[in-house]
Assembly symmetry: C2
Homo-oligomer: 421 residues x 2
C-alpha cells in the first residue's frame, strides 16, 4: 500500500499529540507502508525534513506516552501557504515531494491556518488531477473553529484553567479579613471560550470567579469599576477572570491601555500582555486594596499533567477518522466533533468541508453571556462540563510526568543504526 | 481531658492542611475533648474566632479531602507578636482566652514568623508558670527554616515547578527552527530552593533549564549576557529559571532595575514582580530573538492537584508529632523532618528548640551551586528528588479537584443547627 504523511501546525496544546497517535495507530491498522511525520509542519516538508514514525514509535508504550505528551511532538510552524495563483512553484514542489515518496494521504493537525493549508492543497490537488488525499484534524485550545461542536485541546485547557482558578481562590481567601482582588488573565484574543471556562469552577465547594470578561462583549471601564465596587461591598476577596483580548467599544485593547500609559520598557519596547496587570493597577488605585494579577501564560496550553480524558480520546478519534477519510478517497475535509446528546454525553466524529472552516472564527454565543456582560450562563456550563471530564493521568517517573520527545527518539535511533565501536 | 487549639499562619501551601489533618486526627486519638481551630491564626484567637473542628470535620472522608485541599483551611494571617516586654497586655489576653477555654495545647503551623510566635508564647508561658504547651509545626514552600532537613510544603511546590518547566520546555521547542528564550520566574526572595527545583526536570526526556539563577549568588548582568549568548550559539530554544529575589552585588534586586527603568504604572505605582519581564526585555534587545517571561505566581503555592505524596504524608506526621509533644509535656519546640537515609529515602519526625528556628533563614548551600553560579549540582538533585516522589491524587468531582472549605462547612453546620421552618 501507499504512504501517508502527517504534520502538526500552530500553537501547542495538551492533546495535539493524541491526534497524532490516532493517525499513527489507524494508519498502521489500515496498512499504510510508510507513515511519515513532517518536522515543523509544511515548512519541514518543503525541506524534506521527514521522519519515519514506525521507526520512531516502535513500542506500544510509546504510543501511550505520546498521548500524554503536551505541545507538538513533530514540531510546529506558523506558515501560511500563499494562494495558488501567487506561488504555483511552491505547490509543484510540495506535490513533487509527495509523489516522489509515493504519499497518497496527507493529514494536517492544527487550527485555522492549518485548515487553510488543507483547503489550498486539496484545491490544487483537484486542479491538477492528483490522487493525493488531504484531510485536516482540528486542534486548538481556543475552541474557535467552525463546523465542530468543540475542538480537541479545548477541554484540557479548560480543565487546567478551572482547576487553577479554584486553587487560586483558595489561596486568596486565606486572608479573609483583608480586602483583596485577584485578576487572572486567560488566553483568547477574539474568542472567550477559555476565559469562560473559569466559570466551571463554580460548585458546592467554590463560588467561582465573581466576574468574567470575554472579548465577545465590549469592555467598559466605568461599568467594571462599578461592578468591582459592588462586589467589595459584599465580600472581602474578589476574583476576576479576564480574557487577554478584552477591548473597549472603539477597539482599543485593554492591554494597549496599559501599554500607552505604562509600559514602554527600558528598551522602548511595549510591554507584552498586561491586561490583568493594567486592571490590577487600576483597582489598586480606585479601591486602595491589595491586588494581584496572575497570567496563566503558556501553562494553559501545555499542562498535560491535568488533561481531560474526554479530550484526549476525542483528539485520538479525530486523528483516526482523518485516516479513514483518506482511505475512503475523500479530500478537502476536516474531521469534526458532533455532540449527539448531552446527558449522558455522547460525541461522534464527523467530517465537514474544510472550505467552511478555514478563516472563520467561532465565538461564544451572546446568549451564553449574562446581560451585564460580566459572566456566563448555565448553558455554557452545560456545554463545557462534559469536555473536562475524566482523568488522563500522566506516567510518573522520578516524581514527574514522563514525555515522548522526538529529538531524543531520533538520537536514540541514530545511535542504534550507527553503533560506535 | 483538656482542650487543644490549632492555627495556621503565613503564606498558603499545598500541604499545610495535611498538617492540620495530622493535628486533628492525633488530637482525637489522644483524647482531647475540644479541638479548636483559630480562624486567621493568632489574630482570630485574639477575637475568639474559634471553630470546633470535631463539629466541622465530622466525616472521615472530610479528613482525606482536607489533606488534598491547598491554602489554609482555617484562614491565615501575617501578624508578628510584639515582644513580651512591649505588650504584656496582649500576652495576658491570649492566656486568659486559652485558660477560659481550658486549652492546654497550642499548635501553630507556619513559617518563620509563626515559629517566632511559638517562641514568644512559650517563653511567656514559662515566665508566668503556665501549664499550656506551645509547639510549632513547620510549613513553608520556601524550605528556608533551620533545624529541619526540609519543610512540609516544599516538595509539592517543587513538584509543580519542575512539572511546569518540563511542560513549558516542550511548549518552547515546537518552533525548534526559530531562536527563542523563555524565562520562568519562581518565588524565593532570599532562598533559592524553589528555583533550584526547576533542575529536577533534568532527565532522559528533558534537558532541564539551561541556566538557573538563585538569590544566593550575586547576579551579574554581563555574565548573564555572555551565558545566554553562548547558549544561543549551541541551541535554538533556551529556557532560564530565575528566582524573583536575584540581585546585583550592590543589593539592587533585578526586579528593581525593571522598576526604575520601566514600570511605574499609570497611577505612579511601581510594577510588581518583573524579574523575568526585565530579563526577557533585556534579552530581546541584546539578541533580537523572541522571548517570553512566565511568572509562576501564586500557582506554585496552591497547586495541590499535583502535590507530592511524600510531602503530604510528612506534613501529616509533622502535625501529629506536635500533638504528641504537647501530650509529653514539652513546650517551645518545633517538629522537624530528619532524613535518616537517602536511598531508599527514610525520614523521621523529630523536635527542636524553636529558639533556634525563629528569625533564622536557611539558604541553598554554596557547594550545591555550580562555580559559574548558573546552575545547581547533582547533590541538590539527590537532596530534592525524594521530596517530590509519589502522587496524592485529587478527588475529582465534575472534572475538577474537590476541596474542603471552612466557610461552606460552617454555613452547613449553622443551617443544620438552626433549621428553617
Amino acid at each position: 500500500m501507499a504512504n501517508l504523511v502527517v504534520g502538526q501546525s500552530g500553537g501547542p496544546s495538551g492533546v495535539i499529540n493524541s491526534s497524532l497517535a490516532g493517525v499513527f495507530v489507524r494508519a498502521k491498522e489500515r496498512g499504510f507502508d510508510k507513515i511519515y511525520g513532517m518536522r515543523n509542519g509544511i515548512q519541514g516538508l518543503l525541506f524534506e525534513r521527514l521522519v519515519d514514525l514506525k521507526e520512531i514509535i516502535d513500542k506500544s508504550y510509546e504510543v501511550e506516552l505520546l498521548k500524554k505528551t503536551p505541545a507538538a511532538f513533530l514540531g510546529s510552524c506558523r506558515f501560511k501557504l500563499p494562494e495558488i495563483d501567487e506561488a504555483r512553484g511552491t505547490y509543484e514542489r510540495i506535490f513533487e515531494i509527495l509523489d516522489k515518496r509515493d504519499i497518497k494521504a496527507f493529514i494536517y493537525i492544527g487550527g485555522n491556518d492549518s485548515m487553510d493549508t488543507i483547503r489550498k492543497l486539496s484545491d490544487y490537488g483537484k486542479m491538477v488531477g492528483s490522487d493525493i488525499r488531504f484531510i485536516g484534524a482540528p486542534k486548538t485550545i481556543d475552541n474557535d473553529l467552525a463546523e465542530t461542536d468543540h475542538t480537541p485541546g479545548y477541554g484540557s485547557a479548560a480543565k487546567y484553567i478551572a482547576t487553577s482558578i479554584k486553587e487560586c481562590i483558595l489561596d486568596e481567601i486565606v486572608y479573609s479579613t483583608k480586602k483583596t482582588i485577584y485578576i487572572m488573565e486567560i488566553m483568547g484574543r477574539n474568542a472567550g471560550w477559555l476565559t469562560a471556562a473559569a466559570a466551571l469552577s463554580r460548585g458546592e465547594d467554590c463560588d467561582g470567579p465573581d466576574a468574567i470578561y470575554l472579548p465577545e462583549v465590549d469592555f467598559d471601564l466605568e461599568k467594571f469599576r462599578n461592578k468591582v465596587a459592588a462586589l467589595l461591598q459584599k465580600k472581602n476577596n474578589v476574583m476576576i477572570a479576564v480574557s487577554e483580548g478584552i477591548h473597549l467599544a472603539d477597539g482599543t485593547f485593554v492591554c494597549e491601555m496599559s501599554r500607552e500609559d505604562v509600559a514602554v520598557d527600558a528598551f522602548g519596547h511595549k510591554q507584552m500582555g498586561g491586561t490583568a496587570a493594567f486592571l490590577a493597577a487600576y483597582c489598586e488605585k480606585e479601591f486602595g486594596v491589595k491586588t494581584r494579577p496572575i497570567e496563566l501564560s503558556t501553562l494553559q496550553r501545555c499542562a498535560a499533567h491535568i488533561s481531560s480524558y474526554t479530550d484526549v480520546q476525542e483528539a485520538f478519534s479525530s486523528g483516526a477518522k482523518a485516516v479513514e477519510a483518506c482511505c475512503d478517497g475523500r479530500t478537502g475535509l476536516m474531521t469534526t466533533l458532533v455532540r449527539e446528546q448531552n446527558e449522558p454525553y455522547v460525541c461522534n466524529v464527523g467530517l465537514c468541508d474544510v472550505h467552511n472552516v478555514s478563516n472563520v472564527e467561532r465565538c461564544v454565543p451572546h446568549e451564553w453571556i449574562t446581560d451585564d456582560g460580566s459572566n456566563v450562563s448555565d448553558e455554557f456550563i452545560a456545554y463545557a462540563r462534559p469536555l473536562i471530564l475524566g482523568e488522563n493521568l500522566p506516567v510518573m517517573i522520578n516524581g514527574l510526568p514522563a514525555h515522548l520527545v522526538l529529538q531524543k527518539e531520533v538520537d536514540e535511533l541514530e545511535s542504534r543504526n550507527n553503533p560506535q565501536e
